[in-house]
Structure formats: C-alpha cells, structure tokens
C-alpha cells in the first residue's frame, strides 16, 4: 500500500493507525537505498512528500522554524552558515533536491551532516502524535544510540527549531569534493552570550557534542568573567582541541582509521575556533 496524505493532520492520523511495517518516507534517499540493497523490504509506505507546509521556513522572534520536509537545497540558501555549508556538501544536486532534514534526523547516522550542524545550533526537533500532541526534544536527547532515536513508531518528525542569532562554522573531511560522506565533520556554534557548542560527526555512535572541549571554553557558563578571559587565546583553543580529540570515540571502518579521526577532531576544532575568532 502507498499512502500519500496532503495535510499533516491526516499524516499524523495515518501514522498512529498504521503499523510500523508501513515505512515513513519523505525524500526516500535513505529508505530507497536500503531497499535497492535488499537491506529492507518494506511493502507499504506513508509518503510525506505531498504534505502541505512540510517545506516551510519561518523566522519568528529570533527562532528559525523549519518544516521536516525542508530539503538540503533549501537549507543551502539559509543565512545560517554551518547549516547552509553542511547542506551544500550533501550528495550532489539530485540528492539535495529531495533529501530532507526530517530524513537526516530520522536516519540518525553519526555522519548526518544536517544533524551535526543542528546540534551545534542548539536545535530541537518536534515529534508529533495525532492525539498526544507535540513535544519538542533537544537533539542531544533525540539521538539515543547508533541509528536509534526518541521518535516513537506512532509519531512523525514535524518541525525543527533553533535560535537564529548564533554565529556558526562548519567543516567536513571526506575523500572527494562531491557525493562525499564524512570521515569527520565538525560544527561549532556561538550564542550571542558567548557560549560555545561543539558538535562532531562520524566519531561515535551518534552525532555528539564535545562537552569537555566546550567546558574549556565556557567554564561555568554563568561566569561572564571567565569567558572574557578565555576569549579564544591560542592556548585556550589548543586545550579545547585536545579535549575534543580525547573525548571522540570513533571506530575504524572502510572510510578511515579511528586514530586518524581522533587527530582530525583536534585539527577541526582548532581550525574552526580560530575561524570564529579571526572572522
């Protein structure tokens, strides 16, 4: 069976009524690859590609609100540096035209470029149920374990929100210039109050925050004096970069050794913090 609701209320009703054997699909760029490889053989689909408002982009009271069906091609145009650069690095035009942010979060790959950028931007994801309503979940609580999330089978990812006033930087190390899955990816966000958030991709089971590295920079986050002193002196950057290398927990795989990934965490954190400092 193929279900193709045209509004979110109908989509949520179907999601709650239909069993988990009916697979939610938005762009299909992860779901259909798994089918073509024979890894998954779904018989039935709940297709969200026609839901009205799925791809809306709003900015209200200092908050960006993106519909789950916003594509990488759309995100590439946002004036949010880390997210736009991450989106531009995804696949090629064919993937960016259909791949969505809900799909990136839903797959919950540790290499999810959109997920890593959003984590640095202090994003929350809206999980909705037809009767229980919506709940906003911070991304660090959304990603539970390798490709496991807080999404319940009867819920849909409906929206994502994040503050619009963060500065952010991003970089991905991969093997080529396009269609380039990350070996290591890093995004750093800085709030207007000067608090740093460092997110790393492909170095653990889920997109992760480098909390130790953040602590070097933020200290006691209420301590403005600490931040003024800590203001990204080379020596502070080096300590944060080292902390990131130590807390990363990558594995060896076909793309890279774990050791290389650890070393690159240090390089990326150093490079991106300098970029934030020097503009």
């Amino acid at each position: 069976m193929f279900y193709q609701p045209t509004d979110m209320a109908e989509a949520l009703r179907l999601r709650a009524e239909l069993g988990p054997e009916v697979v939610t699909v938005c762009g299909g760029t992860d779901v259909v690859v798994a089918m073509n490889h024979g890894v998954a053989r779904p018989e039935a689909f709940l297709d969200l590609s026609r839901v009205a408002g799925r791809d809306s982009v709003e900015r209200v009271n200092g908050i960006y609100l993106l519909g789950g069906g916003v594509t990488f091609a759309q995100m590439a145009k946002l004036p949010v540096r880390a997210l736009a650069e991450a989106a531009r690095s995804v696949g090629g035009p064919q993937i960016r035209n259909v791949g969505t942010i809900a799909g990136n979060l839903g797959t919950a790959s540790p290499a999810g470029d959109g997920s890593v950028a959003l984590l640095a931007l202090d994003a929350e994801v809206e999980l909705s149920h037809v009767e229980r309503g919506s709940r906003w979940v911070r991304l660090e609580e959304f990603f539970l374990d390798y490709k496991r999330t807080a999404l319940q089978p009867d819920e849909l990812i409906t929206r994502v929100r994040f503050p619009s006033d963060f500065e952010s930087v991003w970089y991905k190390i991969g093997k080529r210039g396009a269609v380039n899955i990350s070996i290591v990816c890093c995004a750093i966000g800085r709030s207007p109050a000067g608090a740093y958030r460092i997110a790393l991709g492909s170095v653990g089971p889920v997109p992760m925050r480098a909390m130790e590295a953040e602590a070097v920079l933020n200290g006691d986050s209420t301590d403005a004096a600490h931040r003024a002193v800590a203001y990204l002196a080379d020596e502070v950057i080096e300590r944060a970069a080292e902390a990131a290398e130590l807390e990363a927990a990558p594995i060896d795989d076909q793309r890279s050794s774990a050791r290389y990934r650890e070393a690159m965490c240090r390089v990326l954190v150093r490079r991106l913090l300098r970029e934030l400092r020097d503009g």
Binding site: T29, E43, Q94, G177
Partner: protein, 161 residues
C-alpha cells in the same frame, strides 16, 4: 514481485504526455520508466545515488530516479532523455556531446545530459562553478569530464546565442 496488497494509481506527465498506470508501490521511478513505459534511455547502475546515470528531471529539478518511489511522482511532470530531442532534431546538449566526443560508451550520457539540462533550464547565466556543480554527482568512467564540460558550455552558448 508478490502481492503488494494494493496497487497505486499513478497519474503523471512524462515528456509532455499524460500517463495513468497501476503500479506496485515498491517500484522506483526508474523501474516505472524503463519497464512499464519502456523508456530505456534512462539508465540504472549503482542504485544508490552515487553515479547519476538515472537522472531525470521532475518538475524542473534533477533527481535520481533510482531513489524515488514511482508513487512519489504523482501529479509530477517528468522529463527523460527521450523527451528532449530525437534523431531528426537533437537537443543542443545531445549535438555537442556528439561533437566533442563527450559520449564514449554512452552509459552515463543520458543522466549527464539531463543533469546539465536541468541546470541550463533554471540558470540563464551559470558561473564556472555552477557548470561543475551541475554534474558533480554524475560519474563517467570513459571521458575524463573535460569533453563533457566543453559540450555543456558549447550547448549553453548555442542556446543563449
């Protein structure tokens, strides 16, 4: 394929012609084009979005037909290599791919042409970078890309005088 427990009624437009069909919801747009409509110009190769040989244009945008479920093309306007020109009147891209030797074994050519066409249709003044980005997810193992890029630039010049 076994019983899918419900065919899906697909209506869309392919190369300007309205199409109505009952499809198994598990098939991709690539399979629909090739096996149902017998439009075999569109090629499948990697089936994971890495090679671009299955590229078609859906509502003006290039997509990988191997990764789109046929049902997701509902109501859409689809363009394939068969729809852009023929032996009597080639599209400028087809003409210049032949002229520069950008097609050798030819397997990647329909996908490359559709990826390039989507960009040329949407962008009246592409930068050098945009010429490259348009085909960054299309693999050719024969030509080395320089002749392909040349063919696309020549087609652009012909189209825009």
């Amino acid at each position: 394929m076994g019983d899918s427990g419900g065919a899906w009624h697909l209506s869309c437009t392919v190369n300007g012609e309205p199409v109505e069909a009952e499809v198994d919801p598990r098939i991709t747009l690539l399979t629909f084009l090739r096996e149902h409509l017998l439009l075999t110009g569109t090629k499948g190769a990697c089936l994971e979005g890495e090679c671009g040989s299955c590229t078609v244009i859906v509502d003006g945008r290039p997509i990988n037909s191997c990764l789109m479920l046929a049902g997701q093309a509902q109501g859409c306007s689809i363009q394939t290599i068969e729809g852009i020109g023929d032996d009597k009147k080639l599209h400028a891209l087809q003409k210049h791919f032949i002229a520069t030797g950008a097609a050798q074994c030819g397997y990647c050519t329909p996908g490359l042409i559709m990826a390039a066409k989507a960009m040329l249709d949407a962008n009246p003044s592409p930068t050098e970078q945009e010429f490259t980005t348009a085909i960054e997810a299309n693999i050719c193992r024969c030509t080395g890309y320089e002749s392909i890029r040349q063919a696309i630039r020549d087609a652009y010049r012909e189209i825009h005088g």
